[in-house]
Symmetry: C2
Subunit: 456 residues, 2 copies
Amino acid sequence: MSFTTELKALLSNRYSENTDVRNQHGAGFSYHACMPPDAVVYPQSVEEVSEILRICSRYRVPVIPFGAGTSIEGHIVATRGGISVDLGKMNRIPEINTADMYVTVQAGVTRNQLDEALKGTGFFFPIGPGVNATIGGMAATRASGTNAVRYGTMKDNVLSLTVVLPDGSVVKTGSKARKSSAGYDLTRLFIGSEGTLGIITDLTLKLSGYPESVYAAVTSFPTVEAAVNTAIRTIQQGVPVARVELLDATMMRVINRYSGLTYREEPTLFLEFHGSSGEVERQADRTRSIAFGFGAEGFVGEEEESARERLWKARTDAALAVQTLVPGCRLFSTDVCVPISRLAVCITETQRDIAESGLLAPILGHVGDGNFHLSIPVHPDDPDALAKARAVNERLVRRALEMEGTCTGEHGIGIGKLAYMESEHGPALAVMRSIKAGLDPLQIMNPGKLLPPSPF
Amino acid sequence: MSFTTELKALLSNRYSENTDVRNQHGAGFSYHACMPPDAVVYPQSVEEVSEILRICSRYRVPVIPFGAGTSIEGHIVATRGGISVDLGKMNRIPEINTADMYVTVQAGVTRNQLDEALKGTGFFFPIGPGVNATIGGMAATRASGTNAVRYGTMKDNVLSLTVVLPDGSVVKTGSKARKSSAGYDLTRLFIGSEGTLGIITDLTLKLSGYPESVYAAVTSFPTVEAAVNTAIRTIQQGVPVARVELLDATMMRVINRYSGLTYREEPTLFLEFHGSSGEVERQADRTRSIAFGFGAEGFVGEEEESARERLWKARTDAALAVQTLVPGCRLFSTDVCVPISRLAVCITETQRDIAESGLLAPILGHVGDGNFHLSIPVHPDDPDALAKARAVNERLVRRALEMEGTCTGEHGIGIGKLAYMESEHGPALAVMRSIKAGLDPLQIMNPGKLLPPSPF
């Protein structure tokens, strides 16, 4: 029997070598070139995932776990061919437990699907990247998004995982208890492991109570520094702000054009407050007076849902707006995260760098965490723009590392940030390699991602 | 050169084979029998820790990291002799950074010392176990305590660690950024690893803003179930309660006797609310009406600091109070954590079990997390009581595991919970063993702890 025969026997028409299917599974939402896998499989159960991994282990075939294909750093490109394991058919939500405030989902459940399922329960899942990713993919890349300043990232909101290891064995990384001191934290080990240690098939997620009241606000500043200082002071004063997003002047200009809006084209904060009804207004009041202290102009606030959504729509449409700048472009997206006290300098130096490069590269930041993004529209036929974008990215990452930050706050390493792992982690990289060698001795799991090739 | 000669040459009078010193380093705060190490060393720097580990690796001598010796599950007993590495002399606090809301500490800094250092900064470190442990020890056991329901555990409040590996290499597990998606989460891997993978020497901790206002309250209930349901409903309704501690009727009786107090000897909740001034009262009001709905009697609240401290003193003195029950006793302390919806049943069945055993075993719970403790005073010369305590503990853990909980919420495994690792983790234990084998191939780090002997 050949490898292909075994997989076909197991999955029948849920095994595909179709070129379009393969290409669709070989590229994420980014500038990274498509590298299609040799085939795509669609398991429907943990048992099938286990069997697929057993077969791939036996034949030493690379395995690339695939969620919604929204990865930004090339996590799903098939650098060495192999099998893309698409978890899209594993999209059930077996249990919503409001008493214990958790939900269990299969890895292929999408963010929007989960939102829909939780409607009316009084609870929500606070982690939301800008795209409709799968929950499994969000765990694999340690995703976060706009709510992280208050609710944390995926690492803070997963109780336990079911993971299939490369040899086909199935492990559960935790219980349904809210906390535990029983052994190594395998849940956190697999979160952010980018499919290089095993395939996440099921997740138990912590739910958060939907706030009694939500208040949104937008306010603009004379400088990036004033906006960042407002965010810092707000957090330091203990205002439990739920979202605090910075859009730079370029981004505001792009959004105004895209959505026909008339916001000031200055560094702007989009804010959101969660709490009881009176409380959110008090939080907003305190933030407003901090903002005015830093020279803010205007502070438009909304508590009513549709008005809030109108207000936030500009922020939500940011990525779409950037994509219209260069017809036919792909987005070169990158992110770093620095200590918040260095954020204003990091952004300002990056803006200078962008201006010198001649690129159009709007900036958007989850400033409460010190995390920000560049989105650079690059046409595939413009190698010069791509080279410039790479150079800006390189300098951005070096700057962040010099500031004791990290080369990525939420996008992950994939293949895009491999070159910086050594600078960021130094000797700790050997620890990561040791873990990888122990769990994936045949090196079949998502090869070429997260860990740069060993120098030895 | 012998092993001893090398260590003495390195550390001179900071190497000790004194019997009292060895005995003091061979027992924690618990019923576990003292097993003294062969010698105790007191490094003063990361370089010395590294050199000690290099020497111990060369001679394959067991190494037991030691903080304040407050461990409950026998984490520091020298099951195979070896060297206890006392980090007490590494107790500096190099940096308090209020702009970026972190503090860097050496591993030997104690909880109380850190509190003292943060006074007047407007920030605090929210994790506090019931004893004056070292911060390094708290990280090594993934400690939590009364604030965890709101602020999380050690895993949620550490930004990065410096760890010395068994071969003497020094790794940093993270940056100063608030979040990162750059590679495996080594910080969370070492948190809770109980000294079995390396020695934590330095920590960067997240700080929390000290609340503008704090409100404490005590209220008692006809049943454990009513008390637990009040905690559940309070959390579900989104009241961000900072502490919610359950003391059972036995514990209240013990405390009244110890402190000459006159609390109702019924299941009682001690609560604390953090926020702005009006906010904490509103939080308390909402909780009060929930409590009354479940039949609570009385709801004594205090906002002024000394009155709050008086109120909480009874809770704080609980362990001391239990120790006076049996003169000359040691405390058999154990904890489990279950999904909160199972908590009342778990506690009630355990109380029945205790009554049948004839033991005196007050219960105290961090009920917001579903975590609770038994403290059983056992005299060292009473093997019958110890056997009964072990049996109650065994049934307690089995009960928790059947309820999809964990064998320990915050005390850790040490040697005391080794027997339950297989039941709790099953195949995931192989993953833990693989990590251990990769990082500590000579098996010198805290042998006999956390991982049960392999069946193979």
